[in-house]
Amino acid sequence: MKSDMELITSEGKRRDGRSPEDIRKIKIEAGVLHRADGSCYLEWGGNKVLAAVYGPREAVPRHTQNPLRAIVQARYNMAAFSVEDRKRPGPDRRSVEISKVISEALERVVLTEQFPRASIDVNIEVLDAEAGTRCAGLTAAAVALIDAGIPMRDIPVACAAGKIGGQVVLDLGKEEDNFGDADLPIAISPRTGEVLLLQMDGHLTLDEFNQAFDLAVKGCHIVSEIQKKAIMHKYQSAAAEVQE
């Protein structure tokens, strides 16, 4: 693939036909695994992510325990077959970093003080990757946490914005991420607007940054609605079926 390809036309049409402010298609299903306390399967464009939550349970080893609150341990992992060239299995520099930022984002919304000494374990498994897996992973993890019945202040949600061909756009696709100018994934608490995660790759001017940030927040709110619908669908449908 050439790096001088046109990522966005002058009319603002992207390679996959989206306009600058469109997100990719998202599908979320809660409670897909029976052995986990809570789970979620999410498809975001070409991304396929599975999240499972265990706990709260006693944190081991003992020295990781916090006597006043629970710890949230997220583990982000990419399957060997999730990318074009086989990814060497196991944690690497990138996945350790993503695990850390997701753990910290989730810890901020979970009511951890209700479970002293405990650990809430979140496993995020990326089955298929196509740019924006940390956003997809965090969004799936949030749904899985609710499915596990864990008390939270809000439902965290993530979305990315970026810059391609000199234009600020929402939710970068694969080529856009690889050959674009910048990527700005953020996670927010949609109720309060609090920022839970903010990372940036590439270069943006201050104006472009503000524009991209506002766009990403807008994207988060769109994704948040899809998240809420998925949870409601799972738990309200059980009630509706029997009402016939």
Binding site: P56, F115, R117, I146, A148, P151, R153, A239, A240
Partner: protein, 226 residues
Amino acid sequence: MANEGRQVVIPGQVLGDISAFRPGRGTFVENKKIYAERLGVLNIQDTFIHIIPLKGRYEAVVGDFVIGVVEEASTSNWMVDINAPYPALLHVHEVPWEIEFADTEKYLNTGDTILAKVLSVDESKKLQITLNDRNLFKLKGGHLIEFEPSMYRRIMGKKYSMIEIIQKYTRCRIKVGKNGRIWIDGDAEGIHKVLQAISKIESEAITFGLTDRIEEFLKKDAKDVR
């Protein structure tokens, strides 16, 4: 109450204003607004709002009857798994037997099932249970199954109506622990029916008239009723 099912709420959902309602379990207050903190069913009694959770770990409360599985026997106590986030401690003073020092394994060993009561829960959620009360003992034989602890009330029914119906039609001995465990003893057919009934209750928990439907379901192929 109306018959259109109960309202399911999700974390962060606004439930009302602090001036009009009183916040209860499963809610939190921020800027004078009451929010839901977990997935559950909304319950408003007069001005009191609380949430009945749909899922989640068992939260130990002093006095609860629980079914525990012994994890480890030490010289003067046992560690018992009661399905809570933390293991519970059972001290030798809290059992009805005279136990010589380091003889704990003779009475209860790893894998044994006990019907116990929560004795204490401290602020760091350290749990203690006891066997020193009426109707508390080591369970022998039978089957142990798990359910969502939040479904306890649905499984018991109003004034134990649900569990009595199940016992009546299946002729099984059933013990229900508040921690989401049920111990069943009886013939294979009876146990199978209890399992079916419990899973039916779990999947239809947020609907009305459930007790009648369960009775109908059990009545269908009941041969001899006690």
